[in-house]
């Protein structure tokens, strides 16, 4: 078994070294396609995590009228808490809100002498973000509520960007992936043609189709893995650079959730490369290796 494996690996290695230019072409195309797919994947993951982590995705704020009595505010709170969609309701009294605001702006403005302009506020957290519009509408029905604030618009923007990245990533990455598939297929096809003599000799000596095809399939997988490793390195380096740049430009984004773990990228992209490389090579050998 070890001898057999050594023989197959030796044949694969010889073939890889023999057609260096074609190998480089196939590996670089696979790399570019996987960079685009991997980059899009990472961006989507990050956007999705950001969207998921937005508190506003689950929360709506009901700003009460200045004239609303505290007891009635408590009543509304109780009514909202009774709704099955609602996870919890917090009533922030105007005094507390004002204290918080003063502390927040303490370094910039002195608000100590000003009268409190803030009303009471109800913060409603829902269990499912899908139910947020209905709960917001329910809060707005109360005559004591001045306005309802939720961040559906911001959330919508994140989702739209996410959708755009998905389409661009999938579209361009898909096209390049197709190019990589064709190129790897073609490389293996040309390798098969250049090794017709070996193929025929192996066949006449009684080698099975599977054992003749295996070195070619391993060659395609190697091209895919090599392209995938390069792509993973490029994606991770680019992501690190972009992340630093974005945070330096917009510091408030430093609390964004982390992206895909590097290990996932380092395993995922070469794995995907091996899969497509192996499939292409298998397809080429099905068509061109005969006994």
């Amino acid at each position: 078994m070890i001898d057999r494996l050594r023989f197959v690996l030796q044949e694969t290695r010889e073939s890889l070294l023999r057609n260096a230019t074609m190998q480089a072409a196939a590996i670089s195309t696979a790399c570019i396609a996987l960079v685009l797919l991997g980059g899009a994947g990472m961006a989507l993951y990050k956007l999705d995590a950001t969207a998921q982590s937005l508190p506003s995705r689950f929360e709506a704020e009901g700003v009460l009228k200045m004239s609303a009595p505290r007891a009635q505010a408590q009543q509304i709170k109780t009514q909202l808490e009774a709704m099955p969609e609602v996870e919890r309701v917090t009533l922030t009294p105007r005094e507390v809100a004002w204290e918080q605001e003063k502390q927040k702006l303490a370094n910039d403005v002195n608000l100590a002498d000003l009268p409190n302009p803030l009303p009471d506020k109800l913060t409603v957290r829902v269990r499912d973000p899908q139910t947020l519009p209905a709960v917001s509408a329910r809060i707005a029905q109360s005559p004591l509520v001045e306005e309802v604030i939720d961040s559906r618009k911001e959330l919508q923007t994140v989702l739209e960007v996410s959708r755009l990245v998905r389409w661009i990533g999938l579209g361009a990455g898909g096209l390049l992936l197709l190019a990589a598939l064709i190129l790897i297929y073609n490389t293996v096809r040309l390798t098969i043609f250049s090794r017709q003599r070996e193929v025929r000799v192996m066949a006449l000596l009684g080698a099975t189709l599977r054992s003749i095809r295996l070195p070619f399939i391993l060659e395609g997988m190697t091209q895919g893995v090599a392209g995938g490793v390069l792509a993973a390195l490029l994606v991770l380096l680019t992501a690190a650079f972009l992340s630093d740049y974005v945070v330096s430009q917009w510091p408030f984004l430093k609390d964004m959730p982390p992206g895909l773990p590097p290990l996932v990228v380092m395993i995922g992209l070469p794995g995907l490369g091996a899969l497509i490389g192996g499939l292409c090579a298998w397809w080429a050998t099905l068509r061109y290796v005969r006994i």
């Binding site: 001898d3 000799v201 192996m202 006449l204 000596l205 009684g206 080698a207 054992s211």
Partner: protein
């Protein structure tokens, strides 16, 4: 050992073989002679399963090659030694590696490969050339190396397609002597050739072909007079 029953092979509208019947018994040594295009290579391809007959039956080593499943073919070929006419050796491998390649390709382990390669190199007299590349070999040495690779697996049947092509008379006879030695060790040998001198000298069974048909089958003799007559008529 080998039996063809009313075998025809048709390419498009051209008959490569027409209702050929041939039987070769175990231990025989058979020359297959005929001009280029007579059908020798087609017949050989039928014997090792590179081609299927349009009609008729091909039996080799008890197996019906006319209806064999592709997955069974490699196992049958392991019981044949095949010396192909074109490019018998792999140019980027030494003589030793060429012979070992065949054995490794069919799953021999490294110990067995080393043993068998040494044995066949000794048998064909190429011990000193073991580490040479094919480009460093003479024509006769290259043919002997190809024969060594074909017999490395102890096949009961050896098929050699024009093993004396482009060789001088002495070297050609050396190759035929080698094949006859292999035959004496028990293998059935079928050889195609144009070389009338060695056919006359070897005095073995001779099957002559012309235009896809067997025109004579002499159990023990020289180059068939039928072919001489045919060539003479063509020349006239």
């Amino acid at each position: 050992m080998v039996e063809l029953k009313q075998v025809s092979v048709v390419y498009g509208e051209q008959h490569a073989l027409r209702r050929v019947s041939l039987s070769v018994e175990k231990g025989e040594f058979v020359f297959l002679v005929g001009a280029t295009g007579a059908g020798k290579s087609t017949l050989f391809k039928l014997l090792y399963g590179e081609l299927r007959p349009t009609e008729g039956e091909v039996w080799v080593l008890g197996q019906p090659l006319h209806q064999i499943k592709p997955r069974e073919l490699p196992y049958l070929r392991r019981r044949m030694g095949i010396v192909p006419q074109d490019y018998p050796l792999l140019p980027r491998k030494t003589v030793w590696e060429n012979i070992a390649y065949g054995l490794r390709a069919i799953g021999y382990n490294e110990t067995a490969v080393r043993q068998r390669v040494a044995q066949v190199l000794a048998l064909v007299g190429l011990n000193e050339q073991a580490r040479q590349m094919p480009s460093q070999l003479s024509g006769g040495e290259a043919q002997r190396a190809a024969i060594a690779r074909a017999i490395a697996n102890h096949p009961p049947l050896l098929i050699a397609d024009e093993p004396t092509a482009n060789l001088d008379p002495d070297t050609s006879w050396e190759i035929i002597e080698l094949l006859m030695r292999i035959n004496l060790r028990g293998a059935t040998v079928i050889v195609s050739t144009h070389n009338r001198t060695i056919v006359d000298r070897a005095c073995q069974r001779v099957v002559a072909m012309d235009r896809g048909q067997i025109i004579s089958d002499v159990p023990r003799g020289g180059y068939p007079v039928e072919l001489d007559r045919l060539y003479a008529s063509v020349m006239l």
